[in-house]
Symmetry: D3
Subunit: 243 residues, 6 copies
Amino acid sequence: MPDASPLLVVTAHPGDFVWRAGGALALAVSRGQRAVIACLSFGERGESASAWRAGKTLEQIKELRREEGQAAADALGAEVRFYDAGDYPLRESPELMDQLIALYREVQPGVVLTHAAKDPYNMDHPAAAEIALHARVLAQAPGVVGPGEVIGAPPVFAFEPHQSEVCGFVPDVLLDITPVWDAKVAAMNALGAQSHLVEYYTDLGRRRGVQASRNSGPNLGLPVDAYGEAYQRYYPQVTTELN
Amino acid sequence: MPDASPLLVVTAHPGDFVWRAGGALALAVSRGQRAVIACLSFGERGESASAWRAGKTLEQIKELRREEGQAAADALGAEVRFYDAGDYPLRESPELMDQLIALYREVQPGVVLTHAAKDPYNMDHPAAAEIALHARVLAQAPGVVGPGEVIGAPPVFAFEPHQSEVCGFVPDVLLDITPVWDAKVAAMNALGAQSHLVEYYTDLGRRRGVQASRNSGPNLGLPVDAYGEAYQRYYPQVTTELN
Amino acid sequence: MPDASPLLVVTAHPGDFVWRAGGALALAVSRGQRAVIACLSFGERGESASAWRAGKTLEQIKELRREEGQAAADALGAEVRFYDAGDYPLRESPELMDQLIALYREVQPGVVLTHAAKDPYNMDHPAAAEIALHARVLAQAPGVVGPGEVIGAPPVFAFEPHQSEVCGFVPDVLLDITPVWDAKVAAMNALGAQSHLVEYYTDLGRRRGVQASRNSGPNLGLPVDAYGEAYQRYYPQVTTELN
Amino acid sequence: MPDASPLLVVTAHPGDFVWRAGGALALAVSRGQRAVIACLSFGERGESASAWRAGKTLEQIKELRREEGQAAADALGAEVRFYDAGDYPLRESPELMDQLIALYREVQPGVVLTHAAKDPYNMDHPAAAEIALHARVLAQAPGVVGPGEVIGAPPVFAFEPHQSEVCGFVPDVLLDITPVWDAKVAAMNALGAQSHLVEYYTDLGRRRGVQASRNSGPNLGLPVDAYGEAYQRYYPQVTTELN
Amino acid sequence: MPDASPLLVVTAHPGDFVWRAGGALALAVSRGQRAVIACLSFGERGESASAWRAGKTLEQIKELRREEGQAAADALGAEVRFYDAGDYPLRESPELMDQLIALYREVQPGVVLTHAAKDPYNMDHPAAAEIALHARVLAQAPGVVGPGEVIGAPPVFAFEPHQSEVCGFVPDVLLDITPVWDAKVAAMNALGAQSHLVEYYTDLGRRRGVQASRNSGPNLGLPVDAYGEAYQRYYPQVTTELN
Amino acid sequence: MPDASPLLVVTAHPGDFVWRAGGALALAVSRGQRAVIACLSFGERGESASAWRAGKTLEQIKELRREEGQAAADALGAEVRFYDAGDYPLRESPELMDQLIALYREVQPGVVLTHAAKDPYNMDHPAAAEIALHARVLAQAPGVVGPGEVIGAPPVFAFEPHQSEVCGFVPDVLLDITPVWDAKVAAMNALGAQSHLVEYYTDLGRRRGVQASRNSGPNLGLPVDAYGEAYQRYYPQVTTELN
């Protein structure tokens, strides 16, 4: 049964899977799919300015971000694996690639979500996307030795970066996340972020919901007060029906 | 029931709906959907070189193309409306627009297919696309007076032009048409075209099928000998599930 | 004195100059510049669905839209000229062009704002942009006969369409409109539009304000609660200083 | 006072800051701003063909290029730091990044200039651009430990590559450098380059000046014999006034 | 013999075929090819500012521009046909199309040159390009009735617009016009234009020559002091040899 | 004599030079040019799934791929050098670069072919392209020390990737390979690949041949049953004649 195949989300930092893909994660969980997050770093240097300013140590900050990330994943009903691969800059390494290839083969994802290919505001984001895409291709090859069975070719979607147009992000998929909006809000609150950020991403959810409503044809009539998330495909959609 | 909403295909010439969208049409029919073709011209000047060389008159050529187009539509199980709006060049006119707005409102399509926005080999193709897109927007507005109820916002797909890359066509949807391949072949043969063209589009169907197979994830494992058609969305997809 | 040269805004419909350029208009007025709006149609067919559903006549709807547009312009402190050139579709005509050339030459604008070049949701928007750009070039030529003096080459900016990415809109200018936010709100309310639209554009103003704040260097430190509008240049910026 | 914030220019080789950004540097100096150049390599392998053909050693060539670069910087009134990071290829290294992060934090630039993101003629140019952009983001983060205070988000401009169109360079800013043209000529002559190069870049300065003149509106009427330099923004402009 | 097939150049105004394609025309003539120019308007309104300011009448200006255009064509050794179709704006009309279809069929060009598809500084340029491209396609069809034999599919090149990058012009062909540079200079002088324009286009010829030299491989070693013109193909090159 | 200058093809894996550039190689050989292939890896991990599934060892697979690659090169009449640089992932290394710089200087190619810059299906392909382009630039510099004479600036063409549009591949050159089609078939058969692949690339050869025929003007009239290969230039073409 297609719906049962797992969802895999690969992000640079803990916040990313909440702000940008929390709806997709909660939606998969609500359908009974397994949802796994590969969180490559804790965002300990680049995404923790206030903790640094408060005088915390590197280890304290990592621990804090891990706890918040775990709580957010719990709120979404998803599993999270932390790879502690370092941020600012996040770099591909043979060890990290081996771990991710093994993860792909263990999870056998039906769908993969990661960052967009370009982000001039944060070089860790495209780095994470490249790592996710490379590991996916390597995990398909029997010649790349390691535990588990090779995977198929799951579709990959980029989730929305902070400033879409400047990152070359043109959404070609608008996902209706209305049924799980409460779970996304709970996950956002679990992050311990400032309240203006929750407000900002609530606005964004409404905005993408309005657009989803305006673009939805008679086969999928959405109300105008829907909540949405925007995605962009890395590969063509394959389908047995146009809609 | 979503599947029951009709498919509308708007093309410049009779051949286009066969070579480029015949699979989608037959697939819709096989699902019990109504399938309607708006064929704006007979391709009487631009697509009928051999008939002109054989000395036929304009009226004879139109009649010939109408018969072939009707036979091809029959082979696909689709309705076809001929608008006789002239080709080489095909031009938007108030009369044509009124007719198409009325058609949209009568058919209430769930999905619309038309040409790509650019084609340096045939200016009638982008003209037909623009006409189809404008009529769709006009048919949505209560202030545009005419018979029938206003329509919603059905998704629109461009079908594949003759030389994809030169026309800026980047397929983002690969449609599996394997189950209806025989119907498409029958329609191609009904056109009375030269056999090398049928061969050419059979090759293309295989090529897009191989690509569909290579891009299909575990949720939709296609065999490598699938047949496919390529499409590009004009608007973002709206969905309740990523796949 | 540069700041004294007028601002000219060319829009397809009355709402556009409020939702998309209201801040720029109010800002110019606040600096003592003349601000003139050329509103090419009343949006009587394409933007007045509820009035049509309420059974109003074409003339009643035009009058209603004129009143709302006038009230909104008043709230911004701007002049508005209505050209009643028809909408859905809006078309270039020799008469309209002559009127606009005369307007350019009368106003002698220092800056021009209009729609983006592409909008698959509303064909009147790119039509208005093309009209505005052509009239500007024609108004520069002494050989195009008519009243007034030829103009120079004022910079032209596209304001933000409804779904930026789908319209190919990539903002390269973020305008801080915080000082005149109240005037924009007053103009939005003057339109008589549904409250959810005011909310939607308030969200957008905040979103562009946050982005302006994140992109502003030490020379222009904006607070994070700024309000903004996004623009895209049609021509390169000419400047005596990089900043 | 905004104008007092420093200008930072990051280049792969000594010639680049003269040919491509000499006007911007001299202009900043003429306004009393501090102007600092980070010259990552001496161009000792890739930009010194005649010296190699003359039989000079690597060290001799580096020394020669350093002297020329220093003389050119002097002619512009700018400070120059040489990082001797190697060319052909220039590579990012942790040491180089630490040095540049420290430089950003020391200088606290109000504006940054560097290469364009693509240059198929010289891979050191995009490498230098990436290094400059990454160091800027890292210098903003309190979690990236090192001397000095974190910086804000200064705007970044790409200066013009040798063959603009092939490098995907589309100028969105034309800078009037007429008042400092003599200083740029002096710097070009200080490089000890062949006279045809000075001629080539004099032609280019005139060409960009003519274009600046043609694009300048009434608020900034430039004479047709202006000299110009072309730039492209990496991030949207933030402004309180459209012009 | 391939070289004997004629060159056809379609331009909006008389100056265009000199500044932008004079080298290609003279080169064809020097090889014994027939070279024909279709000059669609006299540029009587948009390109004749000084004549209007001098108080000349429309007819006087047309006559002046015709004489200059004829003299320039003579200097290049090319035939010129003036179509007097009007400028500012230049518009496609059935009559003009019939004339151009007949011209294509009479000349049977081996190569066609025209404007680029985009030019925000002059709407007549893309209009002329569209007219040239449409007439070429129509002239290929036996069903488009008229005098002469249908044509094949000659390659089409866009010549360089005034501000290449802003017009989306990316040269993919650099033509060495060194052997006929004197003829181009003579044609430029025949136009009666201001001397700074001749200087401007001489600079441009040198610039494109330097680029041609830098891009020319061992099979075509150009000297650095070559003169060049830049072109962009509308259709893929077809060749029996890569070089 | 231009035709005598060698052709250099740089590929990631052995199959690539056959499927994608076999026609160009055979064509060069048929003209008496030297044709050299730099095959960077054996595709031992990423392109040998069936061998891995059959339980072969890494060394056995490399040997097998080497033999097939050698046989295919023989069938084309070309020299092949295997660099055994590893695949999945293929990485640039100082040793590999030194070897390739030496190869460029030894071969002194008149033309270079390699992969396209983007391929989301196989990260080794863009890696090989980047290596080939960098080595070419380095081989031009006297300051990059090593055996042999520096090279000029040979044109570089990307050959066709597996899914052209998704890889951003827009062919600007269609090469007529009809005269050597039999040699390409022999090379394809030498690879020991599955027969459906040979069929797939035979279809593609026909498809590109039909397109070449449709795009070829009167100077190069190709029959409709031609075979073709598609290429995209990395640098502008330099020519003494437009055609």
